[in-house]
Symmetry: C2
Subunit: 123 residues, 2 copies
DNA sequence: AGTTACCTTTACGTTAACGTAAATATGAGA
DNA sequence: TCTCATATTTACGTTAACGTAAAGGTAACT
């Protein structure tokens, strides 16, 4: 039992599921964030591609640029072989983490401010 | 003891403190996010303006557009008088909160993924 | 064979958030 | 008075992230 359960998706299927335009998905491909296979000229997306698309959209919601998301993605795709490269990756991971932690703080303060504002209004 | 401790800032002082260009600050003014007083033609920023600028930058770090930030700011400046308006404001607050909660989730998943990636590299 | 529903590539258009340059004003110090 | 630092307004330029045609290919009904 091999080669079974290889579900794939068309571009319109994914665009409907995630509520984005096909144009956006093609744009992400053009920006090297995703690389679907082809059947002739038609793009075919695997489950892995779908996961990657989810990662892209998650990054966008957090406010990352496509360039930043590409950096993250290429970290995932790194051969994980050479030591020097690994150091660099760990560095970048640490940077990302710091930015994300800062965002967490920012979000929490903003949530607090919203609460205060709400209280002012309700009172 | 009134009218004391009214510290103010010039545009370059604020731009240095927050590591942004004066151009950006003027842009925020043009977009109605801040409204400093003037001494002749020169802009003079009060402590309140400074706080507002911090709010702007915090919003930016979270990934908000200037338009969204302006919405939040105008919520703060609302007269808090009419009931109908108040309802609308509470609605918008709720929307903001939902978006922020989603972002918190997104950030946490991304932090988890970074951890996994790191473990893969260290192992 | 004709229409319909998707798909493709190419390419110009648009918006946000500034960058950058030019020309000008102003107060402080040498 | 001259120069320097800092300020102003005006306006065109730039980049990212798509939007929006336009022109055409392909597989499946009718």
């Amino acid at each position: 039992m091999n080669e079974i359960n290889q579900q794939t998706y068309s571009i319109s299927e994914l665009s409907k599921e995630f509520e984005i335009t096909p144009r956006s998905i093609r744009h992400y491909e053009q920006e090297q964030l995703i690389s679907p296979k082809r059947a002739g000229s038609q793009r075919i997306y695997t489950k892995g591609d779908r996961v990657r698309l989810q990662l892209i959209l998650r990054g966008k919601r957090i406010g990352f640029s496509l360039a930043e998301i590409r950096e993250i993605i290429t970290m995932y795709d790194s051969p994980s072989g050479e030591q020097k490269q690994t150091e660099l990756l760990l560095d970048k991971i640490e940077q990302r983490r710091k930015a994300l932690n800062q965002q967490q703080k920012d979000i929490e303060t903003m949530l607090l401010e919203l609460n205060q504002l709400e209280n002012r209004l309700i009172k």
